[in-house]
């Protein structure tokens, strides 16, 4: 697993190419290589469906390419791409057909995510089972959060974005982001219950 490989690559590219806009103008492919895993991960975590996440990822970079002239450096490239992704995901979730499949596959996805947690950590079987349960519980809780709370929760706890970045990506004020985040955490914690 190369969970931290992207950040190293990101630093290298930023160091060698200067501001994001330079990369954007010069080498769009490098930009896609750099940010694609992050966009895909956030889309997958939000939608829980690989095909939908792939579609959103491709649409995101298509729109970024089409709107590259309008990119201003008042926010980072990552934040800007996340802003596009958040909008695409919102549109996708509104789709009734997608909602149907989402309801149908909800349980299977929770188990799938939890299964990933078991496979790769060297813990005792009891600890692994507990971890599995906790991950599944957080997944289920996150999936049932209202859309804005879920988006904020995933941007903070999966994408590691700070409040200002989340505010820029979602178009909310920082105080609103904080409020959604607190509510989301309270709900998740309550649903986790005695598992923590």
């Amino acid at each position: 697993m190369q969970l931290s490989a992207t950040s190293g690559l990101e630093k290298d590219i930023l160091r060698s190419a200067g501001p994001d806009v330079t990369i954007f103008a010069g080498d769009f492919e490098a930009l896609v290589r750099l940010y694609r895993p992050k966009v895909f991960r956030f889309a997958l975590a939000s939608l829980g469906d690989v095909d939908a996440a792939e579609t959103v990822t491709q649409d995101c970079f298509l729109r970024a390419h089409q709107a590259r002239e309008t990119f201003r450096q008042d926010c980072g490239m990552h934040t800007w791409l996340m802003q596009i992704t958040v909008n695409l995901i919102r549109d996708h979730i509104r789709n009734r057909r997608f909602q149907f499949w989402r309801r149908l596959n909800r349980t299977a996805r929770g188990l799938d995510v939890a299964g990933r947690a078991i496979a790769d950590r060297s813990r005792s079987p009891e600890m692994q089972a507990l971890m599995n349960e906790r991950v599944a519980a957080i997944w289920t809780a996150a999936e049932r959060l209202p859309a804005k709370q879920r988006t904020v929760f995933l941007l903070r706890f999966v994408e590691d974005m700070d409040l200002l970045e989340i505010a820029a990506a979602t178009g909310m004020k920082e105080g609103t982001v904080k409020s959604h985040l607190f509510r989301a955490l309270r709900t998740v914690r309550e649903r986790l219950g005695e598992k923590i």
Partner: protein, 142 residues
């Protein structure tokens, strides 16, 4: 009676903006400290699971959508010397065939055309069809 941290205070700490009261309480209360540590650990496990799942799904998706062998693209430089030679051969062949098809003695063709034209004129200038000509002769004799 000890008052433990509320859900909002735990959230404050997890998000990273704890008030001094929360920070102080966590220093003094092992139960709340353990709860916060466990919650943070659970969120870390969740992040790890999502990232791991995403990487696996991305690689599976890319494997499934492996590129098929692309259809051969025609060489854009098609007008090569060999093509030029083939073109010249084709033009020569057309010329040869045309020399057989086009009549060699145009004056003969013209005379046969004149004969055909006079025959047509004769047919057209008849007052009655040829089958009725004997009858017409009888009428004229009378």
């Amino acid at each position: 009676m000890i008052t433990h941290l509320s859900s909002e205070q735990v959230a404050e700490y997890i998000v990273g903006y704890p008030s001094p009261i929360v920070a102080e309480h966590l220093r003094d209360c092992p139960a709340c400290r353990a709860e916060v540590v466990n919650f943070r650990e659970a969120l870390g496990d969740f992040r790890w699971a999502i990232r791991s799942w995403s990487e696996e799904q991305a690689s599976e998706y890319q494997t499934n959508a492996a590129p098929v062998m692309p259809a051969p693209v025609p060489d854009p430089r098609w007008w090569t010397p060999s093509h030029q030679f083939a073109g010249a051969l084709l033009v020569a062949a057309i010329c040869i065939i045309a020399s057989f098809v086009v009549p060699r003695h145009p004056e003969k063709v013209l005379s046969s055309d004149a004969v055909l034209l006079s025959q047509v004129d004769a047919q057209v200038s008849r007052t009655v069809p040829s089958s009725m000509e004997p009858l017409m002769k009888l009428v004229v004799q009378k």
